[in-house]
């Protein structure tokens, strides 16, 4: 199996990008990634294309990949749209890595794109629900936020986690996102403001939920032994792992943990021969604040139930023991569903290369980074471990 390296990354601003079509967004991210390959690469070298997109709003649901390759001038490459809800582009990355590892190609493109803001709000409710259990959870009136709220309530009951801990995640990520020119929301917030904001699904308020964003991201990967041909600062994919969990949260034995995260992380750590304490920086899937707290535990950054404490101690701030979501996370950076996964890769690659735009977001001396991308309420998860 070939080792894989990342040679270029790109990402659009995440936000309310009404004036850009899907293909324009992806092209923007792709061109940035192409440009990021500092010794240059010919577009024709890209042989496999994997684009994550969960199809919010409908649009080109069939042959989406062909629409994209056409627009990008990549017609002729093998292309695939990957859908695993919010983990779509994380899995697109995985597919690209596997393609290169297998030896079937030398260079592959992974990325993701989503437009969410041009769907009317009342129809958006439907689209936000398609990644969960349609029959039982949805027909009991459950929403996407509601499912995470159930996890939060149980976590609060079993471990004494408080609403304040949830709010702290939001405050931290907003603080980071304020220094990310590509973030959807670039404004700090306070604990009081989060706690007082409108309730969406008790105990989650508006500020516990990630925004509805448009955006795209892209990563170019190649065989590790060829990486230096393209760039002096490749970032290596040291390990990856993926797993699934019961689709319906109510069917899970433990709703305070997402087993697909636990297993995906274990597999990635094993492949990379690292332990959780070796991780210097991580981008985790904080679609809701509780998801970040649960992720700390699932990824082994702290013992089960101690996620709130880790946060309280400031260990997940930039400068802490394990900086989490220096980009602002899904909460502040935004969550264009299909684009989030490779957006996380974009951030970690920049962190490891020391090329983060605003220096107060740069984690110093980061050698090993982790990305954690989960689909829906945890039905699928993919974890990548990157090394410089």
């Amino acid at each position: 199996m070939q080792k894989v390296a990342i040679i270029g990354v790109g990402q659009t601003r995440f936000g309310n990008l009404i004036d850009k079509k899907a293909e324009e967004l992806f092209a923007e991210a792709f061109l940035e990634a192409l440009n990021d390959v500092d010794k240059g690469i010919d577009i024709s070298e890209i042989q496999e294309v994997y684009i994550g997109n969960s199809g919010v709003g409908g649009g080109q649901l069939g042959n989406f990949s062909s629409l994209m390759t056409d627009y990008l001038g990549l017609t002729g490459a093998s292309a695939l749209r990957i859908e695993n809800a919010c983990a779509s582009s994380g899995f697109a990355m995985r597919a690209a890595v596997l393609a290169v590892s297998s030896g079937v190609c030398d260079v592959a493109l992974a990325g993701g794109e989503e437009k969410m803001n041009d769907t009317p709000r009342n129809r958006l409710r439907y689209w936000l629900g398609i990644s969960g259990d349609m029959e039982w959870e949805r027909l009991s009136g459950m929403t996407f936020a509601g499912v995470f709220a159930l996890m939060a309530i149980r976590h609060m009951h079993e471990y004494g986690t408080k609403r304040e801990h949830l709010a702290m995640v939001s405050v931290k990520n907003h603080k980071n996102g304020a220094y990310n020119p590509k973030a959807h929301l670039q404004r700090e917030t306070t604990l009081e403001r989060v706690l007082a904001s409108p309730m969406i699904a008790y105990p989650l308020t508006l500020f516990d939920c990630c925004p509805i964003s448009d955006g795209a991201s892209a990563t170019i990967v190649c065989r590790a032994d060829l990486a230096k041909k393209y760039t002096d600062t490749p970032v290596y994919v040291a390990g990856h792992g993926a797993s699934t969990d019961r689709l319906s949260v109510f069917q899970r034995n433990d709703v305070t943990s997402i087993s697909s995260s636990v297993i995906a992380a274990k597999r990635a750590y094993k492949m990379a021969s690292v332990k959780p304490e070796d991780i210097d920086v991580a981008e985790v899937h904080d679609c809701f604040t509780i998801a970040e707290i649960i992720a700390y535990e699932d990824l082994g950054f702290c013992p089960k139930g101690k996620g709130g404490k880790l946060l309280e101690e400031g260990q997940t701030e930039i400068g802490g023991k394990i900086p989490v979501n220096p980009s602002g996370g899904l909460k502040s950076k935004g969550h264009p569903v299909g684009a989030t996964g490779t957006g996380q890769i974009y951030e970690i690659a920049n962190q490891l290369r020391g090329s983060v735009e605003k220096k107060n977001r740069q984690v110093s001396d980061a050698e090993i980074g982790l990305t954690h991308n989960t689909g829906g309420s945890g039905g699928t998860t993919v974890v990548h471990i990157l090394k410089r």
Binding site: N122, R123, R125, Y126, G129, I130, M134, E135, W136, E137, R138, L139, S140, G141, M142, T143, A145, G146, A149, L150, M151, A152, I153, R154, H157, P198, M199, I200, A201, Y202, P203, L204, S248, V249, F250, Q251, V255
Partner: protein, 155 residues
């Protein structure tokens, strides 16, 4: 607009109307909802219907704020505002997700005892979809015992 079609809904009526679980003849696990491959022994099995009692406790809950519910519940939202949805741990050891109805705010807590009741869930294309919700179990004033559970009727 996707939705659960009538034929799909109809297939699940034994679960939705009267809480029929499917007991795996291999390993005895009650599968709810029904499925082809037993969730426990992971084999294609034969199943025997078993009526669940409808009694349980709240395992977790949330309150869905008015304005955010799935489209099927927009009518309900208009009439009744925000509503609680809970994971209920049934007596038989398995979990179900359902709305809580006929409650007071103080009834929403983990471990609170609840019982299944037959109610309207929503209406689509003029067809009323009925199903189960759960309500807090109350001690009746005139009797020393609680409201009897479902299972006594249909063993």
């Amino acid at each position: 607009m996707a939705h659960v079609s009538i034929p799909s809904y109809w297939k699940t009526l034994p679960q939705r109307y009267c809480l029929i679980g499917m007991k795996c003849k291999n390993c005895g696990t009650i599968n709810f909802p029904a499925r082809e491959i037993c969730i426990s022994c992971k084999r294609k099995s034969e199943f025997a219907p078993e009526k669940l009692s409808g009694r349980g406790k709240i395992y977790s809950y949330t309150i869905i704020a008015a304005g955010s519910a799935p489209p099927e519940f927009s009518e309900q939202e208009k009439l009744a505002g925000s509503f609680p949805v809970a994971i209920i741990l049934l007596e038989e050891g398995l979990k179900i997700v359902a709305q809580i109805t006929d409650y007071e705010p103080e009834d929403l807590k983990i471990e609170a005892e609840v019982e299944a009741v037959f109610r309207k869930l929503y209406e689509e294309d003029k067809v009323i979809r009925y199903g189960l919700k759960f309500r807090p179990v109350k001690k009746r004033k005139s009797l020393s015992c609680e409201v009897p559970n479902w299972s006594k009727t249909n063993l």
